[in-house]
Amino acid sequence: MNKRLFVQITLGLGLVMAVPAMAQAQDAQAKDALARVKAEGVLKVGTETAFAPFDFIDATGEHAGFNVDAFAEVGKELGVKIKWVELPWDGVLPALEAGQFNMVAGPATITKARLERYRFLSPVAEATVAILKGAKDDSIQKPEDIAGKTVGAGKATAQLAQLKTYAATLPKPVEMREYPGFNEAYADLAARRIAAVANSLPNIAYVASKQPGTFAVVKPPFGQKSYFGYIGTKKPDDQALLDAVQTALVKIKSDGRMKKLQEKWFGTAFDTPDVAPEPSF
């Protein structure tokens, strides 16, 4: 039987290739996350490179931003290299839970809902949400002027949630448009498909400063005061590693390095507490 021979050879080959991969997997589970990171000398950090000035691809094609600099310092403190894993934002937190990387850089707004599920490290910037509008648009002078207009924000972001909460208090409904990332929202604002973008102040201040002829920030921020932080899981296996990163972050803050980085990327330094305060939303 020619068929049988063919079947047996090919299936046998397949089996032989599958076995070593399984054996290797067993090995990696023995130590906790901190021990594994130290042993490999690599801290894997998940992020989205579409969140300037925290994390983006600059005009020369390099991965740049506040996160890159801040984690370089964290890496120095821990004595490890940083390996970045770039995902669309709505995929980052699920992949963290699945264990694809040690922690997430985002950063993410520290919210009640997220605190229930994740461990936030020392806040790195203020995250209060404000409105970005077209530079020549006079119809929006204060946040409440977005009533009856179309406003965009990133999908699965706390900024979108803040926008929804705020919009519910306005006399006329606000039409929401959800984007895969904030860059697409900015592009649609520049093309006037939407009237405004809701995002945290450090982000839109940066965008407006880069393109003053196109964008302008509407002050004051409409959202409740909040902070940005880096994120880890609550899995027992990860806690020692997150403690080490937390210690490194607090040290970077206390010796003034954090302040320098904030000034470099946001044009201003924030007074951020060492431990995130209880969020109001």
Binding site: M1, N2, K3, R4, L5, F6, V7, T10, L11, L13, G14, A21, A25, Q26, A28, Q29, G46, T49, A50, A52, F56, I57, D58, A59, T60, G61, V85, E86, L87, P88, G91, P94, A95, A98, G99, Q100, G181, N183, E184, Y186, A187, A190, Q211
Partner: protein, 214 residues
């Protein structure tokens, strides 16, 4: 576009090609296994193969990629993004290639095999001299088609963290505020790559027709 950014686009295109070629090659190997199992007279081989094909053909590649990426670490396999992407692309194309190959093998005329049996060819000789060459010749156009589909579908793997051609174009479009430039460059690069694949396919077909291969 500055030379530096164009270089980045080319590099990303190289990445797209590398991953697609690897996926198509691995997919062909797995496709052979699955095809063999599907053609097997034994139900315990046929059934899993049928299930495999219906799953990987029936579930969108995007969903498969997200599923594999998020499932592997749960199974204790902490693999990098590229590996997850490669597994997803390979398994998906394996299902299609298995069906293409099966089409080729079942199209080998029975009379030829009966004649070979009469002439005293062993089963392996029949496979090597008759079944495989004919099936391969019949399958090449479908394989080229599949290769082009996978090259284009590889734009999906950015959802599991692989920065390939499409993702690079998105990133650069965002940082330079020149979406038209970068998306048309990406389109041009895909077109050029696929043109090469199609040209390679017609060359192979011609060589096979003249009996130079297999």
């Amino acid at each position: 576009m500055s030379p530096r950014l164009f270089e980045l686009m080319l590099k990303a295109a190289g990445y797209t090609v590398a991953i697609s070629v690897a996926a198509i090659a691995i997919g062909l190997l797995i496709g052979l296994l699955v095809c063999a199992a599907k053609l097997s007279p034994r139900p315990w081989l046929r059934w899993p193969a049928t299930l495999f094909v219906s799953f990987f053909r029936g579930v969108p590649l995007l969903v498969q990629l997200l599923l594999i990426y998020n499932l592997l670490p749960v199974l204790g396999l902490a693999v990098p993004s590229v590996v997850a992407a490669l597994i997803g692309l390979s398994l998906c194309t394996a299902a299609y290639q298995a069906e293409n190959l099966r089409g080729g093998f079942t199209s080998v005329p029975r009379g030829l095999l009966e004649a070979a049996d009469m002439a005293g060819l062993s089963p392996w000789q029949q496979f090597r001299r008759i079944r495989a060459p004919i099936a391969l010749r019949l399958t090449v156009p479908a394989l080229v088609n599949e290769a082009i589909l996978i090259l284009k579908a590889s734009s999906l793997i950015s959802v599991v963290g692989v920065v390939e051609l499409t993702r690079t174009a998105q990133n650069l479009a965002a940082s330079t505020y020149e979406p038209l430039l970068f998306y048309s460059a990406a389109g041009g690069l895909y077109l050029a790559i696929n043109w090469l694949v199609a040209a390679g396919g017609s060359l192979t077909e011609r060589a096979l027709r003249r009996g130079r291969l297999a």
